[in-house]
Symmetry: C2
């Protein structure tokens, strides 16, 4: 309440000509833009790069070897302190491109700052091009030359708007040709691809292609996705997961206090994560909700929608007996995709809708198998209608459009009504639905994500400078102080397996799912019964950039690293 | 990432036996619980209470005088430093009750801490009772004696769960009798009612009733509501507004960066505030969205739903011409209630639904007036169905259940499709809906709300100690440093007017609406055209408890106080 605090905003003290020029920065944005980032000590001093042993693949190494004849088997690389640095990093001006691929994740701008600062500090006179709008920017050679003024306002800021992103892929021979032409035209020494599992697979194909054509352009990937499903031993986490989970957990914690204060609502919170439930699990570990549904467990136990509903209803009934008629329930947005019977129903519906007339009388339902019919009839009417009416351009049922949390509320209501009539439940149930999604993708990166991303980018610079290609930037030992973080690169082919698509083998980096035998799930499983009946709610509060807790790492990362140690 | 930071949570270092006993506190909660609050300097030293001139009412003083024969006209009170404090505050042990009434607002726990600390420091040996579950706790004499250990874990924490709240009112003669009995049974010297406009009206009726029965129990109100619609010159803001708006603005800022990064979505954000649009206006001033709808303006200009839709569509079309096919739009949840034609339609529908058969052929629609029929046909089908099918227990249409943001998205889609066919628009429109509500009601109070609430409670203690009744605790000069804040009490009758209900005059504290001639709206109105076309987005980021911006007051408060000065 000092006089200076009465000017909540001011124009950014920078003459930069960027997309954020029209922006007024908040006090917090301003503080963050000038926040100096620590570097792992191996990056602060002369270093040399040590190659590890020959690598293999995550599965089907013979097929991966065929798909990546020039790259397969190459070792991972680790930076190590060195007395004489001259050999490792020749004095050379580099031309490097960088691209953001896929959905936003907090910290992307810091990867770019990291690359830029590396070039400024260790390869003076280098040039950094930012390809605009994702991989399409590479194909169309749409880029901007990044300089100090251009980058400045984006330091430690959320979003991908510095150069924007896109979901295009470089797939066809023509598209690879376009990428080659861009690499030649800009005389690129290297390219950094910041993306998820698909984008890093694509990065490796590009690296293989450039190598096969004897182009000098090397390609390094960086692990990005708030979903947290791109990780392995060498890449302990993808960036953005930490910030997104902390933003969602802030909201969940607030809703929990609301639930306890009001004492009359069950809050059903749907969280991002269509393929894997890492976000839901991490938020559960941060906040201790009464009920958490983990998609991978539903799939592994072959649970039905009725099973999931009953599980929720059982807890609600037990809580009613001790006069708790409120609670918080976390649901991953991909839940429906994890339920085998739902998949069967959808497949049958798609078939029927494509070939048959759907009569009002419901005779068409006879074409469903018994199991699917039973499930269909179990669904709330609004969901039935949604399944029948809203279809994608190919005429398929749009599962993604189903608001799972609202569907579950209706199913729980119906089941509770039944139990009421059976005299097994006598309280009142009020469901409130929430979806936390977009709010988390572009938040200001936490200290962890800001520092991690900066090291990923700086490390990518070192790898390109040392002539490496087909690696993913790998920063590890993340629970130790930043000084002790390790830096290197992991062979992308070593993360790959193949999938058969249209009669051909396609390389894929398998999504890392929640492991039911992993430490985070086991910790959750050991506590969930207690959380169900007692209200052990934790309210993490808003992300702080200084003071207690501001440097905390995610529970998932901490538990996984502890288990490895 | 120091080793200590690897323990993100710890049990609260307290032996308190409270509802939060089972809770593990996050680092941020722990930091806040021990955060020492500054007091206005007048509360730190001996003071005396100066009465102002005789007061009147906000309207119909004669009727208010009849309704409050013992209290009408009493002066407001102001604390002022005094050399000899003995006269103002007799050494006396007090028995005080406190109650939370209505919806949660961040800071409620601090009002209670403020009362408690006042009693501890200035009236040693006093007792503080917390009535449980709102006014019903007074009527049923359901209370807990608050002590230091009990209060400790709730200091600077969100929620109302220390004693919980409720929406009951003390209205009938029997209920007033029950309240009297409780006051007598606990030998109460005073009662603090923490609530919104209705609850403070109720507090004044209680004060009048106790006075008329010659009970010693005095009643002081405190201004609570996140909606920000309980305020006047002496009470510059209600508590909770600051925190809630900052939480919503964090989310809006994140969605803005997402919109700009993705470049393809229009985000329609519905915000709390059924009666008044203060929250929407404040969030607009904090974040600079492309479009903001203020309910009070819609009502004042007698706009139709078509007008509102056209305004949005016009901006979208203009933006499309400069290749901005994305944006952020803020909508108050009470929007529909502000549109006169919607009110007419609802009234007609209620009449028809009550008396006529609604035939499938739609003949019933002939009973609608032309204007209402036109509006009904303009509504998306899903909304039409919702209006016809979902009714409250009295058979009335449930306006509150309409998801305004989704309705507007559909109406905008339809209008854009029309313009496309007319060749006036050729881009692609994708709407995303959001509702930010519960997330903001129970967040950790900002520094402002934490300090303001503590002063409100401490001040309420001084007023009761001095024998005052029928006042609302008033802390002002809020843009100055805390030391300079003024403290006092305002006669509740001076805020009142009457409304005629069921043939009787009822006293009401009029809700403070957004003033179209007020400084906050005028500032917004002067900037909105620029915000519409340029993307001047501000991302306030998560609430910080230390460092730059952490003590900032809301734009609304700042602009209103500047205008008064």
């Amino acid at each position: 309440m000092a006089p200076s605090a009465t000017v909540p905003n001011g124009t950014l003290p920078s003459g930069s000509v960027t997309g954020r020029l029209a922006s007024v920065y908040s006090e917090v944005q301003k503080k963050r833009v000038d926040h100096a980032l620590p570097l792992p000590s191996v990056l602060k001093h002369p270093f040399t790069i040590i190659d590890g042993p020959r690598s293999s693949a995550a599965g089907n190494p013979d097929e991966i070897a065929k798909l990546f004849p020039h790259l397969f088997g190459q070792p991972s690389a680790a930076l190590t302190p060195s007395e004489s640095a001259a050999a490792a990093q020749p004095h050379q001006k580099l031309k490097i491109g960088v691209v953001l691929s896929g959905g936003q994740a907090p910290g992307g701008h810091n990867v770019i700052s990291g690359i830029f600062d590396y070039l400024q500090e260790r390869a003076k006179g280098s040039t950094l091009y930012g390809f605009r709008g994702g991989p399409a920017g590479i194909m169309k050679c749409k880029y901007v030359e990044l300089n100090s003024d251009y980058i400045y306002p984006y330091r430690n800021q959320g979003g991908f708007d510095m150069i924007c992103s896109g979901r295009d892929k470089i797939e066809t021979p023509e598209q690879f040709k376009q990428a080659e032409e861009t690499a030649k035209k800009l005389d690129l020494d290297g390219l950094v691809v910041i993306g998820g599992d698909d984008s890093n697979t694509n990065a490796c194909l590009l690296a293989e292609n450039f190598r096969s054509k004897n182009l000098k352009t090397r390609v390094i990937g960086c692990p990005k996705t708030i979903d947290g499903d791109l990780k392995c031993k060498e890449v302990p986490t993808s960036f953005g997961f930490d910030t997104a989970c902390k933003i969602y957990s802030e909201m969940i914690g607030n809703v929990m206090i609301d639930a306890r204060s009001t004492g009359k609502y069950y809050h059903f919170v749907r969280l991002m994560g269509r393929a894997a439930s890492h976000i839901t699990l991490e938020c559960a570990l941060q906040t201790h909700p009464n009920i958490t549904i983990i998609g991978e467990e539903v799939a592994a136990k072959n649970l039905t929608l009725k099973n999931v509903t009953d599980y929720i209803v059982d807890v609600i009934c037990k809580r009613a007996k001790i006069n708790y008629n409120y609670g918080v329930i976390l649901i991953p947005e991909g839940l429906i995709d994890f339920i085998p019977e739902v998949q069967h129903l959808i497949a049958e519906l798609n078939e029927i809708l494509a070939h048959d007339i759907v009569d009002e009388g419901g005779l068409w339902k006879k074409k469903l198998t018994d199991q699917s019919l039973k499930l269909f009839e179990l669904l709330p009417q609004a969901i039935q209608e949604q399944l029948m009416l809203e279809r994608d351009p190919h005429g398929n049922v749009q599962v993604a459009k189903i608001e799972t949390e609202k569907m579950l509320i209706q199913m729980v209501e119906t089941e509770l009504e039944k139990r009421k009539q059976e005299g097994k439940y006598s309280a009142e149930f009020k469901g409130q639905s929430h979806f936390f999604g977009y709010e988390g993708r572009c938040g200001l990166p936490t200290n962890f994500d800001a520092t991690y991303c900066y090291a990923l980018g700086y490390g990518a610079g070192t790898l390109l400078h040392s002539g490496k290609t087909g690696l993913i930037s790998s920063v590890a030992n993340l629970c130790a102080p930043v000084e002790e973080w390790t830096v290197g690169g992991t062979a992308l082919t070593s993360l790959m397996d193949v999938e058969r698509r249209h009669g051909k083998f396609k390389p894929v980096i398998k999504k890392a799912m929640v492991e039911l035998e992993g430490a985070p799930f086991k910790k959750f499983a050991s506590l969930r019964d207690e959380w169900a009946m007692k209200n052990c709610y934790v309210s993490p509060g808003p992300i702080q950039f200084s003071g207690p807790g501001s440097d905390a790492v995610s529970h998932t990362l901490l538990l996984e690293l502890e288990a490895q140690a």
